[in-house]
Symmetry: D3
Subunit: 296 residues, 6 copies
């Protein structure tokens, strides 16, 4: 039996780096809230081994993301806290769903409550909004992708939330793909000299994407050897022409539509035949999903 | 002339800690985007001292926040970049406003673009939404306060954005005030034993806030010596009764209303006579303010 | 059974933040002593699993503080070291008392000896001196508090030592209470404008303390709404007058005496009726408590 | 005048990330050598502002790499040290060449000597060996590329040295390209299911490289949509057949030869028609270039 | 003119490592006090460029240490603060001496006050006490040395204070000299096997010190090739005999007396003829030197 | 039974500091390779608990070094990975030797492969070359020592590799021994004033080594009290004279030969009678030892 038919799904599955790569960040989040200590909890419960139980309940419909991170946050505070996730990251939960159960030292449960909830509420807000877009594209051969508009410090986890909700990530930073924009092209004296220069100097597996705003730029980008062509803020009709031009070419080139993508406009864009539609909205415009922690 | 009549306003003014306290975080934000380097910019411009100019333009109406942080981010990348802010943090900018002007190495301007914009767009989104709430309270003797629901890692700057927009901060962490909630009180066997225990063990200047859900709890909290009483999710009528009870008391106690505060409901809550209204909405539910960087 | 009647006392009880908040500091202490390695121990014992046992013996009378930190230091070096504390932090130990027993790899026991002892000897010195002051106030309704005069880098643990010995902490940093001193007041043009400005800009639960040196300042501070009034270096008679003025006021205000507090003068100060007496002496003037580690 | 005709060449040009991304590493290198201080220099020169001058002289023929890093190391120790580089990174220097001139506090010059020299000697060793390979390929349409076999902690700077000597970088880590090896393919149940799974889950601009050892695998990889096919340890004749198969395909695919590349074998490999030849030898098997610092 | 006759004395002179090695520690000290910001100063002065002046005045007789560190602390908070030291580290200052003058932003002066003063008061306390011991040995061919009993985290600066006051440092950590104590010797089966084993495994320039408690051990240590012999807690008469034995030997061996050294006993110990007398008292038992900051 | 006859050998034995001192470095090595995650492995295996087994096989004859570090690297990624080392650090392995066996999550095994192998291949290269030198000196009373020419960031582990192969370490940094070179001596106005100055200011157990190039300098160094005299780049005949001079002296002084040491010249140098021969070649000129990881 190979992994593809492997029924077991772990929440870690959608690809977070190992904790050794994330722990410093998680520790800084805990320290941010605790500062010099949780004065309330320590004053009341410091001396006591009193244990407690709690559950997380969805207070609104939404797609959950971040549970393994919440679990890790608690384990960094207190390795003895036990957590059972009742749902998986990426799962839709109607209001009232029991998301996870916690058991352990009452003091630890209280100390980690806010940082763990903040993480999952924020990421689930992103996942919920992402899923709304993804669902609109379900029957079309096009993928939703995110952007580099992410909250400073949180890119890896916000892009993870985007992924568990069904989107595909665009580049994660300035070092894993080349994007030639107006200013780059102008600085190099045109698309062709820019491409020549770039191809000689970047890690060779990296793809080169060129931003275009009209058909002339699309054609130039195509000839210059772009791996990906971004159609930026083009009207639908123009986009269709751009797709036709590119598909006519024998070399396969990926097409990405970008700019002013909303839940209202996305299907029309998708139907132009592009491969990818990128939008920052699910990360930059989504409200947190409301979740509450109830102690039993 | 004392500082109170001092006309000059610097954007640093609303109180960020000195950069020495923030630089590690800002450096991690830069590293997050740059990773092993900006392959595009370095390939195209590495060898050139070519300089550039750019402006930031508001693409929507909003209240700006985070400009000094954007400036610091650029200076950490390249101390020679020159930035002139045309507006101050906390200022309302109609769409089309020129927010800031940048001059320096074109490579540096390009490398810092995303992280600086992400910071200011996120914080300005918070400031814009906060201002909407604050404006509704302008004629009433009540203050808007934020909560500990903040994006992990960003509390100090998100609370700063809240402040420049006119809100007052609630506690910044678990160590600068005591908040007794249900679970604390239950664990201690009641409000009174909880208060006794806490007062003996916390740094003595710290205030003690007690969460209440009904009038009986309000009265108990009052007797027990609470410095602040939170009226949590109370109906307006009940809130008014709670205010009356507390104001009748000779010892001054601060009253905070909390729970389901929206732009629609906030004035009614404010008119109950509470001192503070706390809501996480401007931080957890606000979309980013759209700003674009245009190279000249 | 609630926690207040809970007989079990853990040494962690008086309120250290979770280890996740302290480990970086503890690791830096270990690295400071070990540097590139314990050349002696590694040369002699590197290849051997030889185990050892040791005890800590008090070489002088004193109050112990820091045992949980010593335990954590050892566990960071070697999680397999077993430690049994025979006394609790805050307990008075006559000379000769066996404080703790250690069992584990002889190499680990030797490597951690100095850093663990240095920590506990320093903190126990503080606890011992603090207790001397606290004992003098045992029958009076006044509390001993510490100050921000603490060894750079050690504030959280030195204030912890102060607490286990019976003192109450004053603010832990510049961010958990406001203290208006001469220079602040002068810069603002007086107490009243200072108070107005501060109240609008600080996290609202934070208390405001005003330093006073004469009765006129006490009265102004009282009227201006100070939460705490510090009587700084006042003669006993003047202090009594200040107490009378403040107690006459209907609004409860906390009174703190400060300046030249010694074991000789503290009772007289206490008897003026102030609520708190602050002194840095137990932290800045106490010798370490002598403790030795004996290998069995 | 655009950047492509821009005569000025700065040593920073080949693309190091901004110092803000590297300084922590450089500081740790300095700390590694200085530890608790340079006891010799501090004892002799601590009190003196005595200045000095020094030069770096090549003690063997070689290609220089790392001068901007050496300069930064010195500036982190003492911003007042002045350095004039007489050659650029990537330049060949015959034995006896004056590489750089230093002027500043004698104490600072002495403290930074070893760490700065170690850096440049190591990186220049890599650049020198890389250039030997690159020169052999100068007339052929094939590029030399490096691998992930790099000294732990030094990847960014070793790959930079590789670049300044004329090689092109392969991926810089596990996150900027996909490489499917035997074990991956076997775990997924074959190349096709592996490709399907990967394409749905990785950032979409990332290229997918597949390792092949025979013609059957080459054909399968081609059909499965590989962006890059690696011919691993194939005999020259087999490699030529593989090239023919791939070039026959209408979709452009990059071909990389790998395995047992030496200065003796590389031209034969290059003449098979592959696009890239990867070898770790210049990084893992090159001796340091000898450089000495002479004080004037 | 060589450095030995160089009149200029900088406060940096006694040998602190370059700031690049200390800045992380200093930044953590600042962060410890400022936390999320100096709420008082920021609320009052945030918007104002108001400048101020201040002086540091000795409130007791003492030897100053730590001024360059205080200066660096201020410069990390605000590079524009100007500081003129009126005395040098190691200088004796009678009560009332003006130690340093500060000019700069009033806000910066206030923010750094406590951390800078705490540093200098603590280190000056150590220097003052150290000087008392050193003065007693001035006419004898013996040096005072410190120990590894130092406040966790502060070893480098406390040993610096010890040095500016005239003591000589003992080893700074477990890695710059070997010390064979009882437990080491017992574990190795005697002094000779311990020496054999150690000499083969440590960096060869490192000295080996052996702790002895009686004449037999002294003789064994001498024969085994110890570089330094510590006479631990020996009565004066015994110490004299030990000195005689060691001096009789043709190989020069350094002799260190240790244990229960006080201002009363030190001269008698010194007169036994040992080379070094080690004591932790100036670091572990000295009260801070009182210094106040007065704003002008 | 004492440790010297203790048969059990642990790989930790040759003296690495405890992991708490090395983990930050190891974590940075892992992060360097993984970056934002292992996209290949996570995409293919993220959801699966599939386990795997692998072995490390020597692809060339060599001396192994670094296995405990490889084990730690894996445990930082995944504590559940099980590793059995079939050889010990310092052991010679002919080509084909099975070095270690790994069992655990297949994903973890793949993620750590490169960083673990890079570490051991690099360190084993050093150990193999070191052993070649050491073997040539086996019958002579002289020891091979390393230098401060080490790869930036790797000194502790490269010196460890040197040690397991039979060399003895020279000083590990600028703080554990004094080395007076030309420039130091000249700055001080001669060897004697340099010695006077240094002896008064360094930690007293530290040895002082003086670099000499001719017999006159040897004699001056001897008289001035050097603990170690380095004969730098002297012809064999001159070296013999220097040895004779130094051995004639009653005070034992260690003699170190340095400069242009090769496998061809080292025996002649050794036969001059010096105590130590230092060379950087095994660290700066050795190729990595080839090792491959085979999955079963």
């Amino acid at each position: 039996m190979d992994i593809l038919t492997d029924g077991a799904v772990q929440s870690w599955g959608e690809g977070l780096p190992p904790w050794v790569c994330l722990d410093d960040m998680l520790r800084s989040w805990i320290a941010e809230d605790l500062g010099r200590g949780d004065v309330t909890t320590q004053a009341l419960l410091g001396n006591s081994a009193r244990s407690g139980e709690a559950v997380w309940i969805a207070k609104a419909d939404g797609v959950i993301a971040g549970l393994p991170i919440a679990e890790r946050l608690y384990h960094l505070i207190d390795p003895a806290v036990q957590i059972v996730c009742e749902v998986c990251d990426g799962e839709f939960c109607p209001v009232g769903t029991t998301i996870a159960r916690f058991r352990g030292s009452l003091a630890s449960l209280l100390m980690g409550e806010r940082v763990a909830l903040n993480t999952v509420m924020h990421l689930s807000g992103i996942a919920t909004e992402t899923r709304a877009y993804v669902d609109l594209l379900a029957d079309l051969p096009v993928s939703l992708v995110d952007t580099r508009k992410t909250t400073p410090g949180l890119r890896v986890v916000e892009k993870y939330a985007s992924r568990v909700a069904g989107a595909i990530n665009h580049r994660l930073g300035l070092d894993d793909a080349v994007m030639l924009k107006d200013n780059h092209i102008q600085a190099a004296g045109g698309i062709e000299p820019a491409m020549t220069r770039v191809q000689r100097r970047i890690p060779y597996p990296l793809a080169i994407e060129i931003e275009t705003e009209n058909l002339e730029q699309v054609e130039t980008a195509l000839l210059a050897g772009a791996d990906i062509i971004m159609l930026d803020n083009m009207p639908i009709a123009l986009m269709k022409q751009a797709v036709a031009i590119v598909r006519h070419n024998v070399r396969p080139v990926k097409l990405e539509a970008s700019g002013n993508i909303t839940l209202e406009t996305i299907r029309a864009v998708a139907q132009t035949g592009v491969d990818y539609i990128s939008t920052s909205a699910p990360i930059t415009r989504s409200p947190w999903l409301d979740i509450s922690m109830r102690f039993c």
